[in-house]
C-alpha cells in the first residue's frame, strides 16, 4: 500500500528582522490511507507547524524546504488556487479552539451550508440535507435543531464536533487535528477520541493527530512520531513505542506523566526532564536533546544523529526508527543500512561498543 502523504526532510523557516530562523529543521513522515498517526511533542517542538504546512496556513514569509507529496501531488508546487481546492477538499484541519474557528454570528446551519455551497457548488436544499448528515456523522443529537442554533449555545465538546463536521464537509482524505481535545474536559475528550476512531474507520479517513499527550495517542494512534526541536526523535507503531522506547527523550516523556492508577499512590515529586525545552532555532549543533540527555556522549554533539531502523521491520509501514547514536542498533545492522554515509560509520563502531559496555 502506498502512503497518501509523504513528507521528506521538510524544514520551515520564518523571517525575523534581517535573518531567518527555523521552526522545523528536518521532519520526514508518512501517512497511509485510513490510519490515525500521532505527532507528539511539547510546545516549541514544531509539531503545529508540521500540520499547518500541509494546508499552507503558515505565517507570512514562511519558507518550506524538502518534499511534501500528497496523493502524487507535490504540495510545494501548488499555487493559491490549487491550495484552495486542496484545503477543505482533500485535506482539512481541526484546531484546538473551536470558538475561534466558528463564526459567532452565523448559525451552525449557515456555516455548514455556506461551506458546501461555495466549495462544492451544492444547491440550497441539497446543502441542507448534507449538513444534517454531517451533524449526524459527528453524533450530534437533534441535528435539525442544531442547524438553527448559534455556536455559543453549544458546549465546548459540541462545538468541536461541529468543527469536525465542517472539516468533513467536502469529504477529505486527510484531516490534520491540532490539539483538538486539549481544551476539553476529560470526559468530553473521550467522546471526541471515539469519534475520530469511528470516522477514520467508517470513512477510510487518515488523521494526523497532533498533541502533547502520549496517553491520548496510546489508544488512538496506530503509529506515532515524537518531535523535538523541529526533528523526529523516534517513530514506531504506538504500542512498540510506548512499550520499548529507545530514545532518551521518548523515555523521559513517558516517565514524566503523573502516576496513574496502575502504578500505586502518589505523593512523590514529579520527575521532570531537566533543563528547558529547545526549539528548532535554539538547538545546538548535533543532537538537539544532547544538552538535557542523561545518556549523552561525545559523539552526540558534532553531527545530528540520523533516523535509523531499530530492527528488521516487518513492513515499510511499521518501522521503528530512532535518531540517537547511543541507542541506535548494533553495527551489524548499521552496515546494511542504505545511505548511512561514510563519515558516520567509523564513529558508529566505537560509539556502539561504548553503548554495549554501558548496557
Amino acid at each position: 500500500m502506498q502512503p497518501i502523504l509523504q513528507m521528506k526532510n521538510v524544514g520551515i523557516s520564518l523571517p525575523a528582522l534581517n535573518t531567518r530562523f527555523d521552526v522545523l529543521s528536518d521532519v520526514s513522515l508518512e501517512v497511509y490511507p485510513g490510519e490515525v498517526v500521532g505527532v507528539a511533542g511539547e510546545s516549541g517542538s514544531g509539531k503545529s507547524m508540521t500540520g499547518k504546512a500541509l494546508l499552507n496556513l503558515l505565517p507570512a514569509g514562511a519558507q518550506v524546504r524538502g518534499e511534501i507529496n500528497f496523493n502524487g501531488v507535490d504540495l510545494r508546487k501548488l499555487d493559491e488556487r490549487g491550495w484552495r481546492e486542496l484545503r477543505g477538499g482533500k485535506i482539512a484541519m481541526v484546531s484546538q479552539d473551536p470558538t475561534a474557528s466558528l463564526h459567532p454570528m452565523l448559525t451552525v446551519g449557515e456555516q455548514l451550508t455556506d461551506h458546501l455551497r461555495t466549495h462544492l457548488g451544492y444547491k440550497k436544499t441539497t446543502a441542507r440535507k448534507r449538513a444534517c448528515e454531517l451533524l449526524e456523522q459527528v453524533r450530534i443529537a437533534d441535528p435539525d435543531r442544531a442547524l438553527k442554533s448559534f455556536p455559543h449555545q453549544f458546549s465546548g465538546g459540541m462545538r468541536q464536533r461541529i468543527s469536525i463536521a465542517i472539516a468533513l464537509a467536502a469529504g477529505p482524505k486527510l484531516v490534520v487535528a491540532d490539539e483538538p481535545t486539549t481544551a476539553l474536559d476529560v470526559t468530553v475528550q473521550a467522546g471526541i477520541l471515539h469519534l475520530f476512531r469511528q470516522l477514520s474507520k467508517e470513512m477510510d479517513l487518515s488523521v494526523i493527530f497532533i498533541t502533547h499527550d502520549l496517553g491520548v495517542l496510546s489508544a488512538l494512534a496506530e503509529r506515532t512520531y515524537i518531535v523535538y526541536a523541529g526533528r523526529i526523535m523516534e517513530t514506531a507503531p504506538t504500542d512498540e513505542l510506548t512499550g520499548h522506547p529507545r530514545h532518551p527523550y521518548a523515555k523521559a516523556l513517558l516517565q514524566a506523566r503523573p502516576e496513574t492508577v496502575d502504578s500505586g499512590a502518589g505523593r512523590g515529586v514529579l520527575r521532570p526532564i531537566p533543563g528547558q525545552p529547545v526549539t528548532a532555532s535554539t538547538a545546538p549543533a548535533g543532537c538537539p536533546f544532547a544538552t538535557r540527555c542523561p545518556d549523552r556522549i561525545e559523539a552526540c554533539t558534532p553531527l545530528v544523529p540520523p533516523l535509523v531502523p531499530v530492527s528488521e521491520p516487518a513492513s515499510q509501514r511499521n518501522q521503528h526508527l530512532v535518531a540517537c547514536v547511543v541507542h541506535a542498533p548494533a553495527p551489524s545492522l548499521g552496515e546494511s543500512l542504505p545511505g548511512s554515509g561514510a563519515p558516520q560509520d567509523s564513529s558508529k563502531a566505537t560509539v556502539d561498543s561504548k553503548a554495549k559496555d554501558r548496557v
Partner: protein, 318 residues
C-alpha cells in the same frame, strides 16, 4: 484544630432570565494542617466559585467559611483583617495575578506582616522567593521577564509572605506547560511538608490530584458527590461520576483501549432536573435516583449515591 471549615456553602447568582442559579449548592469541606485536599471537577461544576468563597474573596449566599474557628469575612471596603491574612490564594492565570507595572519585590513586600520590624521586611520577602526556588535577584525584575512556571512560583512566594496557615490553589497549573507544571507542583508539595500549611488544591485533572492530594473530593453541578482518602477513592470509588472520570483518563498502556466517554451533556445549572443531578448521564441509574441522595458513609469517606446501600458500583473490568 481544623484550619479551614467550609460548611454548607451556597453561591447563587442571577442567570440569563433573572432566575437564581446556584453555582455552588451546599458544599462542605475541611482542611487540616499539613493536609492537601484535592477538589476535582470539570467545567461548570462550580469549583471556581467555591475557591472564591473559600479564600474570602466573595461572600457566600448561604453557609459559612471559618478559618481556625473564626468566620471569614469577605473582601470589602476595608483592609483585610490581620487574622484573615493566614488564608491566601494562588490564582489560575499567572500572567494576570501579578501587577505588570510593579517590581516583584515591591509586590511581595505588600504582604509582609505589619508587626515585622522594617529592617527585616525585605529579607523576609526574599526568603520566600528562595523557598520557592527563585533567585532573590528576581525581586528587582518585572513580571514580563519570567515564564509561566516562574510567575506561578512567585505568586506562591507572595502568598507565603503573610505566613499563611491555609493556601487555596485554584487550578494553579492548568495554564502552564509541562515543565511549568512540574515546577509548581513540586514547589507546592515541598511547602506543605516544610511549613505544615493546609492546602485546598482545585483542578480538573484527576490524575494530578491523585498524585498530590491526601483527600480527594469530587464535585459535580455544585455539589460534592464523593469525598475520600485519595487512595481509597481510586481503589473503590463510591460514585459513578468518580468512576466515569477515572475511566475517561487516557493512559499510556500496551493495547490501550480508548478512554470511556460519558453519555450526554452536563445539564444547564439553571435547569437541573429533580433527583440525583447525575441521573441523566449515569450508566447505573435506577428508580430510586429520582430522589436526590445525600452524602452517605462509604468506606472511610462519603458518597452521594443510592448504590452504596446495595452492592456498590458494578466493578469496572480491568
Amino acid at each position: 484544630m481544623t484550619l479551614l471549615e467550609i460548611s454548607d456553602v451556597v453561591v447563587e447568582y442571577r442567570g440569563a432570565n433573572k432566575k437564581k442559579v446556584a453555582a455552588v449548592n451546599g458544599v462542605s469541606l475541611s482542611v487540616e494542617p499539613g493536609q492537601i485536599v484535592g477538589l476535582v471537577g470539570e467545567s461548570g461544576c462550580g469549583k471556581s466559585s467555591l475557591a472564591r468563597v473559600a479564600s474570602g474573596l466573595i461572600k457566600p449566599s448561604a453557609g459559612t467559611v471559618k478559618l481556625k474557628g473564626h468566620t471569614v469575612s469577605p473582601l470589602g471596603w476595608r483592609r483585610r483583617d490581620d487574622a484573615q491574612l493566614g488564608l491566601q490564594m494562588v490564582f489560575q492565570n499567572p500572567y494576570s495575578s501579578l501587577n505588570p507595572r510593579r517590581r516583584i519585590g515591591d509586590q511581595l513586600m505588600d504582604g509582609v506582616p505589619a508587626s515585622m520590624p522594617s529592617r527585616r521586611r525585605r529579607d523576609h520577602a526574599l526568603e520566600q522567593l528562595e523557598r520557592v526556588g527563585m533567585h532573590p535577584e528576581a525581586a528587582t525584575r518585572f513580571p514580563h521577564q519570567f515564564s509561566g512556571g516562574q510567575l506561578q512560583r512567585i505568586a506562591i512566594a507572595r502568598a507565603l509572605v503573610t505566613d499563611p496557615s491555609v493556601i487555596i490553589a485554584d487550578e494553579p497549573v492548568t495554564a502552564l506547560d509541562a515543565s511549568g507544571q512540574v515546577q509548581v507542583v513540586n514547589t507546592l508539595l515541598n511547602l506543605v511538608k516544610e511549613l505544615n500549611v493546609g492546602m485546598l488544591f482545585i483542578s480538573h485533572d484527576l490524575a494530578l490530584v491523585h498524585h498530590i492530594a491526601d483527600v480527594t473530593a469530587v464535585m459535580y453541578l455544585g455539589k460534592i458527590v464523593e469525598t475520600a482518602k485519595t487512595e481509597a477513592l481510586w481503589q473503590r470509588p463510591g460514585h459513578p461520576y468518580t468512576s466515569a472520570l477515572m475511566d475517561a483518563i487516557p493512559r499510556v498502556q500496551q493495547n490501550a483501549k480508548l478512554p470511556k466517554p460519558l453519555k450526554g451533556e452536563i445539564p444547564d445549572p439553571a435547569n437541573v432536573p429533580k433527583g440525583c443531578p447525575f441521573r441523566s448521564r449515569c450508566p447505573h441509574a435506577f428508580e430510586k435516583c429520582v430522589e436526590a441522595p445525600p452524602l452517605m458513609p462509604h468506606g472511610q469517606g462519603k458518597a452521594a449515591c443510592w448504590l452504596i446501600q446495595g452492592a456498590g458500583i458494578p466493578v469496572r473490568a480491568g
